[in-house]
């Protein structure tokens, strides 16, 4: 009994001839060609290496931006402070319809931004009378007093200036907050904040979560990225610094971020992830999808690939 032959699923049995084929030689030639091409491209074009931005670099170049970021950590308005899981429960994170994946997995890297980015680094510094007094004033105050100090400073900080090597904010009833912001900025400009946030009082480290989150909450990093055409709304995911080719294979992933509804959605990331997972699944399952698996036979590009075979048949 013969089954129906499905031309997009089944393959005819090859009853034709075979010709000599040296698989090892083919592999060796391919390796040689690729190696030569790689060496040639490396010699001609090299590769990019834009140096990393440290907290020291950032706070030296734009001390006001750094100080504003430090304040946003203290008053818990920064992106990290309001992020949600995995850093905190201030928000629920993104959702895809009824799926709140980030919330369900939960907080695994608890970050209290005021403590981690401001108070603890300041406490780690050798005691200086003014800073010691400021920290003592802070720790003996109630949480409502602290909140009031921070709010008063924040109100005045819109007119923050950098004058003669110091942060200047004309705030009243701000308690020790002006000292905190001034000292933290000085700490950053010496490189001490890089060390404290990276090492976290350990010796060895390979985890840069804290300094990277702090850095990203400011505008310096993103301004550099926009300058290099790497921002999300610049198709940046595909791009490399300078004139180097980037990741062209991410074209479809980054495309969605440029168009509605993704480009204005607060859930853009999970929406795009969900869509790309679905499309990837479709690609993997092409052999089982009628229509998609029929296109090759209809489009007939195969006649070019097997033209010699079809000519011999004719």
């Amino acid at each position: 009994m013969t089954k129906r032959f499905r031309p997009d699923v089944d393959a005819p049995e090859w009853k034709g001839g075979h010709s000599p084929y040296d698989i090892l030689k083919e592999g060796a030639i391919a390796l040689l060609v690729v190696a030569i091409l790689t060496i040639g491209l490396a010699i001609v074009f090299g590769s990019p290496d834009e140096p990393a931005i440290s907290l020291k670099t950032w706070s030296t170049a734009t001390p006001v931006d750094f100080a504003q970021d430090a304040l946003s950590q203290l008053n818990a308005t920064s992106e990290t402070a309001t992020y949600g899981p995995p850093y905190n429960n201030v928000s629920t994170g993104q959702q895809l319809g009824p799926l709140q994946l980030a919330k369900w997995v939960g907080v695994t890297m608890q970050i209290n931004t005021a403590k981690v980015f401001v108070i603890d680094p300041l406490k780690s510094q050798p005691a200086q009378p003014a800073l010691k007094g400021a920290l003592a004033q802070w720790s003996s105050a109630s949480s409502s007093t602290r909140a009031s100090w921070v709010a008063n400073y924040t109100k005045s900080a819109t007119k923050m200036k950098w004058v003669a090597g110091a942060i200047v904010v004309n705030a009243t009833n701000a308690g020790p907050v002006p000292e905190f912001i001034t000292y933290l900025t000085d700490m950053a400009r010496t490189g001490a904040l890089d060390a404290v946030l990276t090492q976290q009082s350990a010796f060895y480290t390979t985890n840069y979560t804290l300094p990277l989150l702090f850095l990203e909450d400011g505008t310096y990093l993103s301004n550099q990225a926009t300058h290099e055409h790497l921002a999300g709304d610049q198709w940046g995911m595909m791009n490399e610094t300078g004139n180097y080719p980037g990741q062209a294979w991410l074209w479809l992933y980054t495309f969605w971020y440029q168009v509605p509804p993704f480009n204005s959605s607060g859930n853009a990331d999970i929406l795009v992830w969900g869509l790309m997972m679905l499309l990837t699944l479709l690609l993997a399952l092409v052999p089982f999808i009628p229509g998609l698996r029929t296109i090759p036979r209809k489009v007939k590009i195969y006649r070019l690939i097997w033209k010699e075979h079809y000519q011999n048949l004719d």
Partner: protein, 209 residues
């Protein structure tokens, strides 16, 4: 004794492997005459590029992840790694296009196609962790942006793209093992099933035995 040997795991596995993959299939010296197009070279070119990627990666490993920032030889080796990756994806995508238009999944070759797609996706993940391991501005930007996508799925709670050490180890240990296993399986499947024959014209009625 012979019955006892036949029941051994080693003997049974050997028989099974030789049945599915006899030596002349693993290391063939002929191929069907319809394999007569330059489209067929992109699979082996992808594998060749992968070998150069791994070799240049091993050279980078010799002196550690910061070497290329301060050494001109290190920078050159990094360039080898970057360009071999570009060639790897270049060849892989053309290979994908060719295989799609050949409908290469026909005749029981669906698993070959699927392993190919999975390898593509794992390769993207490997390249991604590589970019995260650069310890430069690009790595800072990519990690702080990518974290939002991965955090949104819940994966960021355990796969922390801001943890450079973790990302480096995924890049040089876990993901290369996955790629090598997947590419190995993919190539073995091609050897077991053979290269897909051309579409018949006109279309055939009876199925192959």
């Amino acid at each position: 004794m012979s019955n006892e040997m036949d029941r051994q795991w080693t003997t049974r596995l050997r028989h099974r492997v030789l049945k599915v993959l006899p030596p002349e299939k693993v290391m063939p010296d002929t191929q069907p005459t319809y394999v007569s197009s330059w489209i067929y070279v992109f699979g082996v070119t992808t594998v060749a590029a992968l070998i150069v990627v791994i070799a240049s990666g091993c050279l980078l490993a010799l002196r550690g992840p910061l070497w290329w920032h301060t050494s001109s030889i290190g920078l050159f080796v990094n360039s080898l790694h970057l360009w071999s990756v570009e060639i790897f994806f270049f060849a892989m995508v053309i290979h994908l296009w060719g295989k799609y238009f050949m409908a290469a999944w026909r005749g029981g070759r669906a698993l070959t196609w699927i392993t190919g797609v999975v390898t593509f996706v794992v390769s993207i993940a490997t390249a991604f962790t590589g970019y995260l391991s650069q310890t430069n501005f690009d790595a800072q930007w990519i990690s702080t942006q990518a974290k939002d996508g991965i955090n949104a799925t819940g994966g960021g709670a355990y796969f922390n793209v801001l943890n450079t050490g973790q990302m480096l180890m995924w890049h040089i240990v876990l993901l290369p093992i996955a790629i090598i296993a997947l590419v190995g399986l993919h190539v073995l499947l091609v050897r077991i099933k053979g290269v897909v024959p051309p579409f018949e014209e006109p279309a055939k009625v009876a199925v192959e035995s």
